[in-house]
Structures are given as structure tokens and as C-alpha cells.
């Protein structure tokens, strides 16, 4: 991806992840409202097989979407280079850590 097109890539990723997150959240809210899990076993059962892939994609989409949004906000409002870089590193590192943590949670639930 060329430098000129990297903004376009972020624009497209923000919309693709938005569509997935929107669909996932609506499904999750409706599913939990209609059929609240009664025990930890029944709750874990919703993370196995195909569902684990959907959950992993959700964690990835969530953290990526949050990163692009936060990056735009930081670039808009934080101008001194040192503060801007610090904020980007802090949020970027935090969200990468969150994504890895989320993967671990899903994979443990799917396997156990």
C-alpha cells in the first residue's frame, strides 16, 4: 500500500469493521436478551466451533476500529509532536495488548 493510499485503507477498514461490529453487537444483545446463559458451562458453549471464529474476528475488528478512531481523535486534538507520539504509542500498545488478551480469553473458552 502506497503512502498516498494509506488514508484510504484506514477509511475502508473503519467501515468494514463497523459493519461487522454492528452486526455482532446486535446479534449479541438480542441473543443475551432472548436467552440469557444460566451457567458458566452454557455460557462457554457459545464460544466453541464457528462461534470462536466469530468472537476472534470481533476482538480483532473491535481493537482495529478503536485504533483508527482514537488515532483520528489524537491527530485532530493533540498537536505537540512529543505528546502526539506518546498518545499514539500508549493507545496503540494498549489496543494491541487488548487484542492479544481477547484472543487468549476466546481460545481458552473455546478449548476448555
Amino acid at each position: 500500500m502506497s503512502r498516498q493510499a494509506s488514508g484510504l485503507q484506514a477509511w475502508a477498514v473503519q467501515r468494514l469493521t463497523a459493519i461487522y461490529l454492528g452486526g455482532f453487537f446486535i446479534y449479541l444483545i438480542v441473543a443475551v436478551l432472548l436467552d440469557p446463559p444460566a451457567s458458566v458451562e452454557l455460557w462457554r458453549a457459545r464460544f466453541g466451533g464457528v462461534a470462536s471464529v466469530a468472537w476472534l474476528l470481533f476482538v480483532l475488528a473491535l481493537c482495529w476500529h478503536a485504533w483508527i478512531g482514537i488515532r483520528d481523535v489524537v491527530l485532530d486534538y493533540i498537536h505537540p509532536p512529543v505528546w502526539r507520539l506518546s498518545a499514539l504509542v500508549a493507545f496503540g500498545g494498549g489496543l494491541v495488548a487488548c487484542a492479544l488478551w481477547g484472543f487468549k480469553i476466546i481460545l481458552l473458552a473455546a478449548g476448555g
Partner: protein, 127 residues
Amino acid sequence: MSRADTRPVYLNLFRIRLPIAGVMSIAHRLSGVLMAFLVPVGLYLLERSLSDAAGFDQVSAVFSGILARVLMLTVLWALLHHLFAGVRYLLLDIDVGVHKPVYRYTAWLVMVAAPVVAVLICMVSRA
């Protein structure tokens, strides 16, 4: 003194009437930033709820407390506002609802629908 130096540099934000779509847009940003900070909180609750029976009961109890339910309503409002405003932006991308007065109506719709649906979801989940 050149003309450029006499420009008004002080803007009283309370005297600028921000259009409703502007209010909706700022709330879209605010709700997004808020939820970005809540990602680790959500992951923590998810991890506890999946850990064992005790953790599952703990997280269930958290969601049934009155303070937690008020917090949940707030977060749900942020999520739904972000979602509805996001759907509106996606529709604007494909040229749906771009013109006056429709874009004003849809901005109002987002502003009103988000808290209403959040309250409805909280009421249904009480049962």
C-alpha cells in the same frame, strides 16, 4: 497593525448555534473514545464470566446491582448512539439522506432513538 491581527480570536462557543448533526457528530466521537477506554473493562468482565462458576456468578451479580445497571444504561446509550450514528454515516457514504431536511431529521432520530432503545433494552433485561 495589519488586518490579520484584528481578527477576532475569541469565540464564545455558547453563542454559536451548532446544528443538530454537529451535536450528533461530537457525541459519536465522545462515545467512541469512552468505549475505547472501556475495552479492557469489557475484556476483564468477559474473562471473569468465562473462568469458573464463581466468576460467572460474580459478573452476573455485577449486572444486577442498581449502580451497575445505571452504568450499563450509560454505556448502552453510548454504544447505541455510536451504532446508529455510524449507520447514518454509512448511508451518507452511499448518498442516502445527504440533503436538507432529511439529514437533520436523521440526526434527530439518532439522538432520540439511542437513549430510548437503551432504556427499552434495560427494561427487557430486568425480567
